[in-house]
């Protein structure tokens, strides 16, 4: 099973790193779409279906929390799992992201394993492409 993923970050370098981690982790990616902020992401979502979104918070034009708000209000997009990757990791900020619909939260700086573990946990598909709901470690998120 392969899937489409969208990576949203105003840092091109950070998008490249996350993309590389996902790829070398063995997740089967059909398409990786990149966007520099929430507004650009919403535009690209009109043309492409994605199975998961990995988004930064602190971005110009539309930040990650505003994007979560927009996605949650749209019946077409509200079920797309969103993982927040952010330098801002106070418990209040994490709770705010979860309340707005985020399914995972990764604090920067991160290790490759952090991305792999949360992505696996959120989408329920292991690096071998098999659906593994029963084997998911529910205690492994960074909440």
């Amino acid at each position: 099973m392969s899937f489409n993923v969208m990576i949203i970050d105003d840092s091109c370098a950070m998008r490249s790193v996350i993309k590389k981690i996902i790829t070398i982790s063995g997740f089967k990616i059909s398409m990786c779409i990149e966007a520099g902020n929430g507004r650009e992401a919403l535009e690209k979502l009109k043309q492409n279906w994605v199975d998961a979104i990995i988004s930064d918070v602190n971005m110009p034009e539309m930040n990650g929390l505003e994007l979560l708000q927009s996605l949650s209000q749209d019946p077409l997009y509200r079920n797309i799992p969103v993982i927040i990757v952010s330098t801002e990791g106070s418990s209040e900020r994490i709770n705010e992201a979860l309340a707005k619909g985020a399914k995972g939260f990764i604090k920067k700086p991160f290790l490759p394993e952090d991305i792999r573990r949360v992505l696996y946990d959120v989408i329920g598909v292991g690096a071998d492409g098999e659906y593994q709901e029963d084997e998911r470690d529910t205690d492994s998120s960074d909440f």
Binding site: S11, A13, E88, E92, P109
Partner: protein, 154 residues
Amino acid sequence: MENIKKMKEILTAAIFEVFEKMFYVFSEPLHTNGETYHMKSTISFSGPFTGTIQIFLNRMIAETMVKNMLGLEEEEIDESIMADCVKESINMICGNFLRKLDPERVFHLSIPTFETISENISQSKEGKNEEIHLTFASDTGNMEVIITAPGMMK
């Protein structure tokens, strides 16, 4: 004074974590200054405290950061990707520092800025009461981080 010591320790830990995890750059505190740097990035934060954090780097350490983070060869590195990595480093240092300082409360971070420079910042700014200067040495060059946050140092 105790507060400043604690802030220095937290900021040092935040810097080490960012550089080791994201850029595979290992450094150690340097107790001299007077280095000439080639670039700087600045970020502001507001919330329970307000302030700015700046990072100053020479070109060699910035190139190493790009190479290590993105796996690029020297000829593939240009100014824009270097600026991007340096801005991301100060963004992560700031967030990590504030998170370690107060994990409960929310701070708002600005979008980082980047400038190329050629100045000896240690000598020009040293001695101001409301700043903390930290200098680090790595195999590929030195860097300096300055935090200015008057409310936090009282």
